[in-house]
């Protein structure tokens, strides 16, 4: 039975103009990108430009502003609270990142082993990252409460302290408390991401190194760590941006206090811009974050480009 070519019996497809246009890669791409470009343009690009314009005026709530050049920034330069906020933000980002990386890495190495209940443990470990930050931060706030702190109670019972620890009302301790909560919240993200990276490393490499005589620490340093570097870089850069621009944690725990001691860029901008209604100055504070973020993103892009061309 020879199956010969038979002209298709289906009606010829008539292609509409739209259909033909969308066959072209370029028009199709345009159509696909349109909604995204509209949303991002309206709600990111436009406000950004507005923000820059705002920061060079003296607008307040209900009062349109006049152009004042870089006055706002000059004011900020001499503002001691702003200086504290700048220092705090860098300190906060730096310290938490180091700890999150170290602890996250340790946890990832632990989770990389095979043990019973591994899946459940991994699931539980990710919880601090899943639960809304504000809500879990409240739990910490309650745990830090000067009068009712469970942490104080435990330390007291263990005989390690004799008076109360003012976690949130002492300026230095408050900063430490905020850092602790940020680390607590960030470790799971680092751990799970680094775990994913670890799992792509061929175990045979470790075995070969062991046979070659390398001890665990050496194996880690010479085999695991270099292969983990790409994932680490991505995670760190991503996290640095998030931490630098953080708001929720400090807002809930201390509101920026005590006495403006724990302000970050974001919380101070909120206090000035929304709290006291000095819109333009608030916008200036927010904008002050931009240079640092720009540097970090550029580093990230350069790194990705370098990795891709390798």
């Amino acid at each position: 039975m020879a199956v010969a070519y038979v002209p298709t019996s289906a009606p010829a497809e008539r292609h509409s103009l739209v259909s033909r246009l969308l066959e072209d890669e370029r028009w199709l791409a345009l159509a696909l990108f349109l909604p995204t470009v509209v949303i991002l343009g309206l709600f990111i690009a436009y406000p950004f430009v507005e923000g820059v314009l705002l920061a060079v005026t003296d607008a307040k709530v209900g009062v349109p502003g006049h152009f004042v050049g870089l006055n706002n920034f000059a004011k900020l330069w001499n503002d001691s609270i702003f200086q504290t906020a700048v220092w705090n933000t860098f300190w906060y980002t730096g310290v938490t990142t180091v700890f999150k990386l170290a602890l996250g890495l340790w946890l990832a190495l632990l989770l990389n082993r095979h043990f019973k209940g591994k899946a459940i443990t991994r699931a539980f470990v990710l919880l601090p990252f899943i639960i809304p930050t504000v809500l879990s931060t409240f739990a910490w706030k309650w745990m830090f409460d000067p009068t009712f702190s469970v942490i104080n109670w435990t330390l007291y019972r263990l005989g390690l302290i004799h008076g109360r620890i003012n976690w949130l009302s002492d300026p230095d301790l408050a900063m430490i408390s905020v850092i602790i909560v940020n680390i607590w919240r960030g470790v799971p993200f680092y751990a799970i991401s680094l775990l994913a990276g670890l799992q792509t490393i061929n175990p045979e490499l470790q075995e070969a190194a062991a046979i070659d005589g390398a001890r665990p620490w050496q194996r880690f340093w010479h085999v695991t760590w270099p292969l983990l570097l790409p994932v680490t870089m991505v995670v760190v850069l991503f996290s640095v941006i998030q931490t630098f621009a953080d708001f929720q944690l400090v807002y809930v725990l201390t509101g920026g206090g005590p006495a403006n001691a724990t302000h970050l860029f974001a919380t101070y901008a909120y206090q000035v811009g929304i709290g006291t209604g000095l819109l333009s100055e608030g916008a200036a504070i927010s904008l002050a974050m931009f240079p640092v973020l720009l540097i970090v993103v550029v580093i990230q892009l350069l790194y990705i480009r370098r990795v891709e061309t390798h």
Binding site: E23, E25, R26, A29, L32, F33, P35, T36, I39, L40, I44, F48, E50, G51, L54, L103, L110, L111, T121, R122, A123, F124, L126, L127, I130, I131, P132, V134, L135, S136, F138, A139, W142, M143, T147, F148, V150, N152, W153, T154, Y156, V187, I192, S193, A196, V234, V235, F238, I241, A245, F247, Q248, V252, A269, G273, A283, L287, M289, F290, V297
Partner: protein
Amino acid sequence: MIEGAKWRRWVFFYIPLGVFVFVLLFPFYWMMVTTVRPDSELYRPWMAPNYTPFWTLHPTLEHIQYLLGETLFSTWMWNTLLISIVATIISVFCGLLAGYALSRLHFPFAGSLGTGIFITYLVPQTLLFIPLADIIRNFRLGDTPWALILTYPTFLIPFCTWLLMGYFKAIPRELEECARIDGATRWKAMVYIVFPVAVPGILSAGIFAFTLSWNEFIYALVFLSSPAQKTVPVGVTSELIRGDVFYWGPLMAGALLGSIPVAIIYSFFVEHYVAGVTGAVKG
């Protein structure tokens, strides 16, 4: 397993792991205990004797009842649910289309657009919230769910796009090529062939987007003012505190109940979350 003596296993593995898990989970435990602990026990100073902080012998539902009965908590839940779901749908839709375009099509400015989406990270919410508040008011969207539904996609779309790009890259091109030879237009091949195969990715993106929406705070804080419009994080923060007095019982109840929707989805889709995190990082 770690080779070697049993004690080594304990010292280097079980104990550190145990400490990690304990520290990471304790605050949630604390949330739960506080929610069901009666006020009389709650407000006992920590130095007082007979203080049993880690459990309670008289669990009560009064805080939860207060929360659901005397506050607008259920309204906040509803608001947050609505906003998160709609924002997620919009973002996954946009991310799906944009991700497909970036990973499958050749067109001018592809590189720049891809980088452009990445660059939106340069402008986090805390940088934009002040001018954006103005714009929202000008569009007459202030104090409505739409203020959030339309602005959340700004940080959800980039994430969804990368995630889905990763999934698309793993789908062989031949599938679409075959479909196109079979008689499908590019559009039909995309919708009938590529998208169905990318469903796990779509699920991951959706779940993640939902979680991130639920977690958002500053836009919700600044754009919404009337108590009935607020989302759970904002409502809990602003309405459960009178002056300087924190109503810890209802507060913790609110924190607990407010976490439940996300926790439920999480428990069903853990693998997708992990895939989402790893996908974003590797992609």
